[in-house]
């Protein structure tokens, strides 16, 4: 108890950094996933090639390796030093963005062709079709996978302590060195990560229910706030599975 009282502020600081990295990485990943995923569904071969190369490259290389490259190799190459936090967000965003782009591409392609035909019959432009019909429908399909990706991203932020960022994992190690209490020092960090994940899961599930309602589907597993309390099921390590 005394331990908690003394150390909690430091954990909070570390967790705050973890949250910042998660939000920053997720924002970058989301933008990349949308832009590059949509490119992959156009009829221009060069656009689809960009998508393939991006997806295969950044899915193929571990985020940690990309982060090391930005922190250590990039300054050597350009003489320009990146803030480690920026490098971390960049690496995480590129990695998760690559998985996300594939999700976006697949979800758009899964919108029934008949829906696209209806937009042709109403003479929508490509932009209108995307904005008004295709993306809103694909959105509901992307969300569950996005949810899993956000959890994976949050977990992946833990590698940043290796480049000197004082996140939750880093705080746990510092406190462990200071107190010698490995089990407690790490235990608190584990619980905080777990809670953070639960918050993300709840948030994503609320988004999913809203998107489902828009498409006239009943919320999964009964409606209302109670549906949010279903046992979470972070199942697939996403993008990986397809």
């Amino acid at each position: 108890m005394e331990f908690l009282e003394q150390q909690l502020p430091r954990y909070a600081d570390g967790a705050w950094i973890t949250i910042q990295l998660t939000v920053g990485g997720a924002a970058l990943a989301f933008v990349l996933a949308m832009a590059i995923g949509i490119l992959g569904t156009t009829r221009f071969w060069w656009a689809r090639a960009i998508t393939t190369v991006f997806v295969e490259t950044f899915r193929g290389i571990a985020a940690l390796v990309v982060m090391f490259w930005f922190v250590f190799a990039f300054p050597d190459l350009t003489g320009f030093e990146l803030d480690p936090r920026f490098a971390a967000i960049l690496a995480l965003g590129l990695n998760v963005g690559a998985y996300g782009a594939e999700v976006v591409r697949a979800a758009i392609n899964a919108v029934p062709p008949s829906q696209v035909e209806a937009t042709v019959a109403l003479n929508y432009s490509w932009t209108q079709r995307m904005r008004l019909v295709v993306l809103p429908q694909a959105w509901a399909q992307m969300l569950p996978t996005f949810g899993n990706l956000v959890i994976e991203l949050m977990k992946a932020t833990a590698v940043v302590y290796l480049v000197g960022i004082v996140d939750l994992t880093s705080v746990a190690q510092q406190i462990r060195s200071a107190t010698g209490q490995t089990f407690v020092a790490f235990g608190v960090a584990f619980v905080l990560y777990y809670l953070l994940a639960q918050v993300l899961i709840l948030g994503m599930r609320a988004l999913e229910n809203r998107a489902g309602k828009k498409l006239g589907r009943a919320p999964t597993g009964g409606g209302g706030i109670l549906s949010l309390l279903r046992p979470p099921s972070v199942g697939t390590k996403v993008g990986v599975a397809k």
Partner: protein, 211 residues
């Protein structure tokens, strides 16, 4: 400019790193395959199943790297970093493969269970001869994806000093000050393994999806 001399000289070290990486992946993956299946079956029992589910959930929602470091610090010093790394990797991924097996098991038609019961097959035979063969066949591609995924997570073992690819790159890079080459080569070596594997998995997917 790119230093080809360095590339040439560093290659043996990097290749030995990737060899370790592949060893880690294969052993860790075997653990994940066996343990995950065990978990998927045990999860169907009351109480113990609930506890196992919670533990797996906990493992899935906390970072692998802090798990690795934690276990490494908690184990006696005479257990090697390689062993710790491979076991933690395996257990962490078992939490994922268990979900894959579970979806496969749930995908087996109810009629199959009922037919097994109608033939008075024992529980063991029902699982071993009827349910699991059908369930596993369906999830082979999904399981395959975790092999690639695990391969890409091995650099995390850098944190406890396992001499895998990233660790080797950092060593040769800092000894020779050729950091750009070292880390870029790591990237290419990762691609050299993961892109062909992804293609193989996609083939598998097609083959098993056809059934």
């Amino acid at each position: 400019m790119w230093d080809f001399q360095f590339t040439y000289e560093a290659m043996p070290d990097l290749l030995s790193g990737i060899l370790t990486t592949i060893q880690l992946t294969l052993i860790g993956y075997s653990i994940a395959l066996v343990l995950g299946l065990l978990v998927a079956v045990v999860r169907r029992t009351p109480i113990i199943g609930g506890i196992v589910h919670f533990v797996m959930e906990f493992i899935r929602t906390t970072p692998l790297i802090i798990q690795v470091v934690f276990v490494f610090l908690m184990t006696p010093a005479d257990i090697s970093a390689f062993t710790v790394g491979v076991v933690v990797l395996g257990v962490h991924y078992a939490a994922y493969t268990a979900e894959v097996y579970r979806s496969g098991i749930e995908g087996v038609a109810k009629g199959q269970w009922e037919a097994a019961r109608a033939l008075s097959l024992s529980t063991g035979r029902t699982w071993g001869a009827i349910v699991l063969p059908q369930a596993i066949r369906k999830v082979i591609p999904a399981l395959g994806n975790y092999l690639i995924s695990m391969f890409k997570d091995t650099p995390l073992l850098f944190a406890i000093g396992v001499t895998e690819l990233l660790t080797q790159a950092q060593r040769v890079g800092s000894e020779s000050f050729r950091v750009v080459e070292a880390y870029t080569l790591v990237g290419f070596l990762f691609l050299a393994v993961s892109v062909p594997s992804a293609i193989i998995i996609r083939r598998l997917e097609k083959r098993y999806a056809a059934v």
